[in-house]
């Protein structure tokens, strides 16, 4: 971070990323989000160190619907399984598949939307009509179709969910690129012979990133719920493997009498989404040099 900039030391300064971090640090909400996310990630990553996987799957019917207490911190579910263990292990899939899906669809959306927005014309027509076709199909149905084509498995489910989210990102990226591509600094870049890729990735995308980042981070919750829907349909994560969305959908019949069954995994999803969203907001502002230092 403390690298000297390429000005040969004329003005001592931070590197570009050092500057971003400097601005990010000032955003309290974003820092809180970062800490919460790191905490949740460590908790789920290190789960095997403090929770036995047996507790996740072993059923004990006499022990069902125990309210949170000293031995079962989050209580137990309808099969007498420890909810804490299930939530901690469930987060591994929810969080990592969720984050991987939004990153994947973010990158794909940037490339497709960038191409469509920058070149316009035929390229735009072809890309956007395909995107329209994908958008016409409900996300879940589309994911199912992709899983049906690729086969079952977490990795394939990840791709399926990313394919379902990409059209939205493509649209957002395209529209923000189209607003920028006629700016004079793009003409200047063409003037000294910048390649199209360089114009898209160096000049257009960084300037059109704001709305895309916000939309990306808000999508995480939806993706986690979609994982559950796929699991419910027998694709992707199957019972008894825990996953936040799956836990929610499995226990939803009982939340009237045992609200903690819905509240706890729901709170985990909400907390992660909020944390990621705050980080996204902070990142958007930190990446924009026009924001006050």
């Amino acid at each position: 971070m403390k690298k000297r900039r390429k000005n040969g030391g004329a003005v001592s300064g931070r590197s570009v990323w050092g500057l971003v971090w400097f601005r990010f640090k000032k955003n309290k909400l974003a820092m809180a989000g970062l800490f919460v996310l790191i905490f949740i990630m460590l908790a789920v990553l290190l789960a095997p160190l403090y929770v036995d996987y047996q507790a996740v799957v072993s059923q004990k019917i006499t022990n069902r619907f125990k309210a949170p207490n000293a031995t079962n911190w989050f209580g137990t579910d309808q099969f007498g399984r420890d909810l804490f263990a299930r939530v901690v292990y469930g987060g591994r899939i929810s969080l990592f598949v969720g984050l991987a899906v939004i990153m994947l669809s973010f990158v794909a959306g940037c490339i497709l939307g960038g191409l469509a927005g920058y070149f316009g014309g035929v390229v735009d027509q072809v890309i956007m009509r395909i995107v329209d076709m994908f958008m016409a199909i409900p996300a879940i149905l589309l994911s199912m179709a992709v899983v049906a084509a690729l086969g079952n498995g977490t990795g394939k489910m990840l791709i399926a969910l990313a394919v379902a989210q990409t059209p939205r990102f493509t649209r957002i990226v395209r529209s923000s690129i189209m607003g920028l591509r006629n700016q004079e600094f793009i003409e200047a870049a063409k003037c000294y012979g910048s390649s199209s890729a360089r114009i898209i990735f160096k000049h257009l995308l960084p300037n059109g990133m704001g709305p895309v980042i916000v939309s990306t981070t808000l999508t995480l919750g939806q993706v986690i719920i979609n994982i559950a829907s796929l699991g419910f349909l027998g694709i992707g994560v199957a019972s008894p493997t825990p996953e936040w969305g799956t836990i929610l959908s499995e226990t939803k019949a009982f939340i009237r009498y045992y609200p903690y069954l819905g509240l706890i995994p729901g709170a985990c999803i909400a907390l992660s989404v909020m944390a990621v969203n705050f980080i996204g907001d902070g990142l958007r502002d930190a990446l924009d040099p026009r924001m006050k230092n």
């Binding site: 000005n7 004079e184 003409e187 200047a188 003037c191 012979g193 360089r198 300037n207 040099p289």
Partner: protein, 319 residues
């Protein structure tokens, strides 16, 4: 290079835009030539195709017809690696210093970008050296090296735009109204900077403007455009002393003056609007607003040399 051979030349350059209502004739049959180290001023009211002309010459917009020569080579035929020769020799300065700089890049990166793209420097130290040198040439204090465009005022931004254009060491720069967005005091600074650079480096300019005082200050030769066509072309002093085309006369008489003795001089006020540039009729395009219009004006008017180096597209002007 020999004295007489022009650095940049266009032949019958045309640019038509297809619009839903027909063809918009933005640039029509423009022939110009600029010698090394000289400035050609292009004047005309807004929408007359000045900027389009500049962009067509730099291949930012593909022309409909015609040729553009740089040192005798038709740059429109350049492909692949040949394009680099064009990119390092021909550059542009833009009108609006608030949109012509990428807001996400620092000043040093903006100036370094052309050098990176064209592969003109070998390492970071050399690049930093060049950036500092360019900033100094353009009158930018070194402390701005890590600032961002939004932190600078219009004049400084325009200097950054100039430094970026100079980064590849071009021999020809299209200046698209580079001072019209600036304060008058800053305008003079930028113009003088441009002229100093011309003296030091022998750069040629195609200087696009609607400001006649500016064009008088900086140009060697002046080209007056009306609706995409060149109506008059002459050496600077000749044009201001002896304007021949009715449009040029009207333009010159519209220059505000502080000379009280000329306060009640006769002004030639133009009435009416610029005619529709979509599918224009043959004949003089200025005729609908011209005080001297006659039957002959319905015939196409060609640019004729009426005096050495003075060309006019009006049948009434016989030198």
């Amino acid at each position: 290079m020999s004295e007489n051979r022009p650095l940049v030349e266009t032949r019958n350059l045309c640019k038509y835009f297809d619009t839903p209502r027909g063809q918009l004739h933005a640039v029509e049959e423009v022939n110009l030539s600029i010698k090394a180290g000289e400035t050609l001023g292009v004047v005309g009211e807004s929408g007359c195709g000045k900027s389009t002309l500049g962009r067509v010459i730099l291949r930012l917009i593909p022309p409909t017809r015609g040729e553009v020569y740089y040192e005798g080579e038709n740059i429109l035929e350049y492909r692949g690696k040949q394009l680099k020769k064009m990119h390092v020799n021909m550059q542009m300065i833009f009108q609006d210093p608030f949109t012509s700089l990428n807001p996400r890049l620092s000043i040093s990166n903006i100036i370094a970008e052309p050098m990176k793209v064209c592969g003109l420097v070998r390492n970071r130290r050399e690049m930093a050296e060049r950036v500092r040198e360019l900033m100094e040439v353009c009158g930018l204090p070194a402390r701005y090296v890590n600032t961002y465009p939004h932190e600078l005022d219009g004049g400084r931004r325009q200097r950054v735009g100039l430094a970026r254009a100079l980064a590849v060491d071009p021999k020809f720069i299209v200046c698209d109204e580079p001072v019209s967005a600036l304060d008058v005091s800053i305008q003079a600074q930028i113009l003088n900077l441009l002229m100093d650079l011309q003296e030091q480096k022998g750069v040629s300019y195609l200087f696009i403007t609607h400001d006649l005082c500016v064009v008088r200050h900086i140009s060697h030769q002046i080209m007056v455009m009306y609706m995409g066509q060149v109506v008059e072309f002459a050496e600077k002093n000749e044009l201001f002393k002896n304007p021949l085309h009715p449009y040029t006369k009207a333009l010159l008489s519209a220059i505000p003056t502080i000379d009280l003795s000329r306060r009640n001089r006769e002004r030639q006020l133009l009435r009416g609007e610029v005619a529709n540039p979509i599918n224009p009729k043959p004949g003089c395009r200025f005729a609908p607003r011209c005080a001297y219009a006659a039957q002959e004006c319905l015939e196409p008017q060609t640019l004729r040399e009426v005096a050495p180096g003075h060309k006019v597209a009006c049948w009434r002007c016989q030198g």
